[in-house]
């Protein structure tokens, strides 16, 4: 979608136009959902987090000045909400809840036909998220954005409004910690 069209949509959203809000939701729902899921893992109610992200987005749209691209801005809000969730979880020390099977059952791929693959995938995801949960929310978000969302370091720096050096340093140490843990588990 062109920048002009997005600007029009944003303007309409600010004016409380429901159609425009629906449009924005459809445009960004997958991106927001993917990033949320990758950064938080299965121990959160992702639907609820996605809902929170869109509410925050619509409520703060009037503060969007166009200094960065709208994609970056959406990313920034998503990262902030997810980081807050991770911090809350860290404070409350919630037990790690694994993925619910309903999500997989409702998936397009019929995994029920291949139970061993399901188990393998569940175990693999468990180990990865276990490793990610050992990182601080800041490092975790950077690793997720760079390694899973394929964002460049510059893009991450822009999203987080952090110096490039900080991003690099956090990525370096995050990777190192992940490597150490996964090596210990025998996954690497």
């Amino acid at each position: 979608m062109e920048n002009n069209q997005v600007s029009v949509l944003i303007q309409k959203c600010i004016e409380n136009n429901r159609m425009a809000q629906h449009e924005i939701f459809h445009l960004y729902k997958q991106k927001v959902y993917d990033l949320s899921h990758r950064s938080l893992g299965g121990s959160f109610d992702i639907d609820d987090v996605v809902q929170q992200i869109f509410i925050a987005l619509f409520n703060s749209l009037r503060h969007f000045k166009g200094m960065s691209s709208f994609d970056t801005w959406v990313y920034r809000i998503t990262v902030k909400v997810c980081t807050t969730q991770l911090r809350k979880k860290y404070r409350k020390r919630q037990p790690q809840i694994l993925f619910d099977s309903t999500r997989i059952e409702n998936g397009q791929e019929d995994i029920r036909s291949n139970p061993s693959k399901l188990l393998e995938e569940k175990e693999f995801k468990r180990i990865i998220y276990q490793a990610l949960s050992r990182l601080s929310p800041e490092k975790r978000m950077i690793v997720v954005m760079h390694e899973m969302e394929n964002k460049t370091l510059e893009e991450i720096s822009q999203i987080l409004k952090k110096p490039l050096g900080t991003v690099k340093s956090r990525l370096f140490h995050g990777r190192k910690a992940l490597e150490k843990y996964l090596r210990g588990c025998g996954t690497l």
Binding site: H22, R38, Q51, S60, N106, E147, M148, S169
Partner: protein, 625 residues
Amino acid sequence: MKKDALKQQEQSASIQRLSTLLKEVKPPLKNEPEWAVLESNLFTTLQKPRTFHEKYQASFFHAFFNPIIIVPATALLFIVVAVLSYRFNNSQIDPFARVVSIRGTVLASTTGGNKIDTLTGIDSFAKIPDFRKNFVFRTLGNSTLIMQLDQGSVFELSQNSIVSIKEINRRHLFFDLDKGSMLVKVSKRLKNQKFIISTPGASCSVVGTIFKVDVRNEANATSVQTVLTVYEGKVKFTTGGQLMYVASGQTCRADKNGFGTINAISELETPIKNISALELLVSHGNPSGAKYGLVDVTTQPEQALVIIDDSLAGKAPLLARKTIGRHSIVMSSHGYETLEKTVEIGEDSISRVSARLEKNAVNGRITLHHVKQPSFPSPAVLQPESTLVAVPEYVEAMVQLTIGEYQKAVGILDSLKDNQPIDMKSRMSIMKKINGCYAKLGDFKNASERLEEKYEKSSANADKENLLWEMANIKANCMGDYQGAEMALVELLVIAPAGIRAHDAYGKLAEVQYMLNKSESAAATYREHIKKFPDDPDIDKSLFSLANILDNDTHNCKEALVLYTKLIKTCPRSGYIEASLFARAGCLIKLGKFAEAQNDLKKCLEKAPEGMWSPVCVQLMKELR
């Protein structure tokens, strides 16, 4: 971080493998109905009216990180904090500083001012506008001034003294003592708070202590001398650029030429009464909000019993805290006329009562000196309270009772009743006092009723035994229901005659019966206890109490004598030995065996030369000679 470190890391095989693994993690796919549900929920939430918090959260979030707002806001906050802090620290008006007591005549004026006010009482102080800065107080002969400075600091300016208040505020307390002496109690100062008394040629600085500063202008001395005496804590003493610390129990002299030697202060030099007065003035613990003042009672001769408002306050000289208003004070000493005075106690001030007791002609004649045949001391000497007041714990308990600290008083009295070798009448008197304290402390009727309900429901004997014991204690100690306590204890001894509470129950039952004026029953209970549990560690108490009842109430001196002798022989390490020797001497005197009595009195004195009975022992021995 080094530029190439990240690149090097990326090139390592394990990191590449890690990247591949991470990329393999894919979020589960969401189908259209699931998205539809999410969308519906989201827009339903958005349609709801937003709360204030939700409405302004985002705005605040954005505003907070906007430097245009945050910089002035921070600066404004900083200014407000600085102004408030400055005002708090340098406030010239401290609402707490006030004159508490003026005795005699005190002259007051501003520094260098011509107008001099004559203060003759606390009321006359009202005309002084502000004394907290550059103000001078001068006490004349036989005059004192007491001023409270803050919650824990107070000073007494003695007669013929001149003090200039340089500054009194929340941070600093600065005084110039030009003449005379000042006794000071200072509460713990914070790091930035100072308390300094300057004298001609020296300066005393403290952080929380009790001390006295004396300025002497002796004829043979070349310059004015400052004598610092420290009773508690440590005081920094400076003169002519030299500095030294004077510790508790030390006194030091200084003039403009330097310090003298540090000497220890003797106990006699310690103005205990004055210090106590200052401490009582600044003491807290007044939850009822009642207003208090102090009464200072002195008698000639000393050690007269002081009864304030029908309750024993202790022996003179005495300082007590009482509620404001009129109080009756009775001073009594054996061989002297009892004197009663009424005193008006003002808020936070000291009222002084001084009395000279006249010799009582009648009592004087019947002292043992004028009796031909030796006899047992007159009843007044052996009145329970007259012996109890010699016990410091009892006096302390009475003081606590007087100031309304009932819990503390109960603690002291309880330990006194159980641990001190006191006679039955004294014990009963203490029990009554304990009842009084508990009555002030709360309503124990409900507690007793709940225990009774529980007792009705319980079936096990052990439970019943414990419940009956608790009930008896509450009834006897807290409610004064001796009848109820007696019933509970009798039942306890029926249910569990050899139970774990039986030993204590016998003692308690006898005490309760004695309180009900059933001396015979009490004696029977003690007899049963001695018979049933001859090896009980507390058997000495029962022996002594039984002998005491037989001796004083049923006048069976012979049996009492046997019991006292049994106690002295079988329990040589008992705490009742001294009292038993004294009591046995009494029995022997009554039976006309004076030589043996003298022997017992001598043993009693040897055992405890400073004991409770020693003054009476000495007196009796003189008579027996």
